[in-house]
Symmetry: C2
Subunit: 428 residues, 2 copies
Amino acid sequence: MSEDYRPMWTDLGLNLEAHDALLGVLGPLYEQTFLSQQNRPDGMQYFDFVMSEVHGLRIKELMDAKAEGRKVIGAFCTFVPEELVLAVDGICAGLCAGAEWAPEEAEKLLPRNTCALIKGAFGFAATGVCPYLAASDVVVGENTCDGKKKAWEIFKDLDGVNDFYAIDIPQTKSPEGIALLRAEFERFKTKLEEISEKTIDADNLKKGIATVNAKRAAMHRLARLRAASPAPISGLDALLANQVFFYDDPKRFTDSVNKICDELKQRVKGGLGVADRDAPRILISGCPMAVPNWKLPTIIETSGAVIVGEESCVGERGTQNLTASTGDTVDDLMDAIVDRYSKIDCAIFTPNPSRLEHVKTMAREYNADGVVHYGLQFCAPYQIEAGPVEKALEADGIPTLRIDTDYSPEDVEQIRTRVEAFIERIRG
Amino acid sequence: MSEDYRPMWTDLGLNLEAHDALLGVLGPLYEQTFLSQQNRPDGMQYFDFVMSEVHGLRIKELMDAKAEGRKVIGAFCTFVPEELVLAVDGICAGLCAGAEWAPEEAEKLLPRNTCALIKGAFGFAATGVCPYLAASDVVVGENTCDGKKKAWEIFKDLDGVNDFYAIDIPQTKSPEGIALLRAEFERFKTKLEEISEKTIDADNLKKGIATVNAKRAAMHRLARLRAASPAPISGLDALLANQVFFYDDPKRFTDSVNKICDELKQRVKGGLGVADRDAPRILISGCPMAVPNWKLPTIIETSGAVIVGEESCVGERGTQNLTASTGDTVDDLMDAIVDRYSKIDCAIFTPNPSRLEHVKTMAREYNADGVVHYGLQFCAPYQIEAGPVEKALEADGIPTLRIDTDYSPEDVEQIRTRVEAFIERIRG
């Protein structure tokens, strides 16, 4: 990244010294993780560029957009309806939460037994190194898990958090739960209209829906191409696309993913892949992996297996459903949006049977040989749901490995040993 | 307890060997904890008797009631509206969850980092030693925290859990959140009517409300008497009353508490107490302590301090509000019940400002010198809220000590050291 961004980072109030230290870690980590891979699709060069400029050019774009009066909405979760943000010509930006960063700062504010994602968000915020947070006009949290909903009460008052806004999420999909979500999305719509001084109408909302749907449809296309053997793209690269989904300009992102899909289509035709045809094919299921959380996929794919799908909010759980845009009124479209988001089968819901069905469907459609369930330590919803999911998958003849971990590198070799044993079991 | 209950326990399907082992631990623990105290009110003899028969006579009463067609509703939480249970002539019974019991069984089903209360419930259930669970016609769980709501999905299928029923609880007190609670209480009312084959009408519901209110009012009376110096009753004995609140026949319980209050009134007049007049007065605030979780109060009260209040669901958070019975229709009364329960300031709600206000009020009214915040390890709602609560109390000049622990005796001496240092700080 060019030094030219330093004045911008200063304007944003970042702590330049700490931010330099962060970039000094992230750059080499990215190179080591991604650029060392063999047979990458040429189209991944775009994502390499995006990542090299993730705190530079993309932030400059956000600042330019803000100068034109557009609003930046920072978010941590796939429950934030991007359709509404786009309808007021706003920009959604994923906020930094994917690395262990200044845990000692996070632990001044949170219990030690808080999940790594929440601690990461606090560490980045408390040390002033997340330009997306600094650029956000509104920072949106959601009452999904206990950890997040209670942590927001503290997070909202941190320096550098501009205008914190919480969206409440129900715990069940009862009629009253859906009504609650509907009311919350209406309230968020009003908030967006107020800060943007724009009105959401059927026209701009339909456009917003179309833009997000196109992004999701491109990811569906990418997902289906991974069903081929040999896998035409690595799990790491596909995860990266799922991660950039939350950062990049949506239309440019969609075009870039479709371009990669065109290339992968040719690869599949030609029988070209990134791994041996007999490499065990793994489906990952569980907690979301935010940038730069590449720990478990790296272990899996450097142990001789290839990842063919992510049942995750940064993955197919987050992208699987499109929003219907058949209505002609804002009210109809809001119904469609609520309907779409209420189908997300996050483990925060009880019961949550469709997630298990989705894991099974993904395993079948992408020809997975086994499932690795990824639980973030202290994430009660996914860690508890992991038990029944593993049991049901094994009963269905799908080998399953449960890995509970955090962002620390300390247990990498221990996990590698378990993953290798799992791969051996699959190779059987 | 008499051997006469063994046939009853066998009929209930208890594991007699494991149950004997449990009683072999509980009896001595009770004696050591309670009977060793000095200057106990005579009225506590009733509770000593109740506890000595907690798996005996009280279970026999439940079985006799069941034989008459009455229904037993087992519950884990103060969110279960006893008013409705009483309206159909049912009996509410707190379920076993207050001790570390067969953690290896619980950990077959749950992640290790699950709170001790949930693990306890699983350990008791999985080994067949909770007669209240066995006697329950319906076992009610509630979607309060992530741990419970997800654990119920597994708990409901355990052997010995007869008819599991989950009540959904909102995460905020928004109009939609209250509407959700209202719908859930209506659904629970219907469930109770179905299993009891009785109809809830304004008359029986008013009677139910009056019975529960009387029980709460007696606890208010007890609470106020503890404001005196020296404290007329120990925190352990008062906690025991709060615990038995969930087990005993409500009218007998109310009478017994009022009888103790009459005695305490005389003590206060005579300047009699259980501790020195200069003993530091501690308010406990935080997670509920179910029978036989007496660990932290024992440490505090054997370190020279006296506990003068419990801001807890097994304590004043659970009992503080009465249900209005001014309405004349079932609908009005249901509104009043929802209104009353929605005021519970459990840390599962976000935000939850009234809890902090309540802690401050209690500290002032009961002349507390300091607050010990009790967090169950892995209970994210209370552990996260502990930070802001501590900060606000200290800012108000109220010394505060945060203790995060589980049911294990391993850290008792470590906690004692911290409690002693805290008492020294108060003594200044």
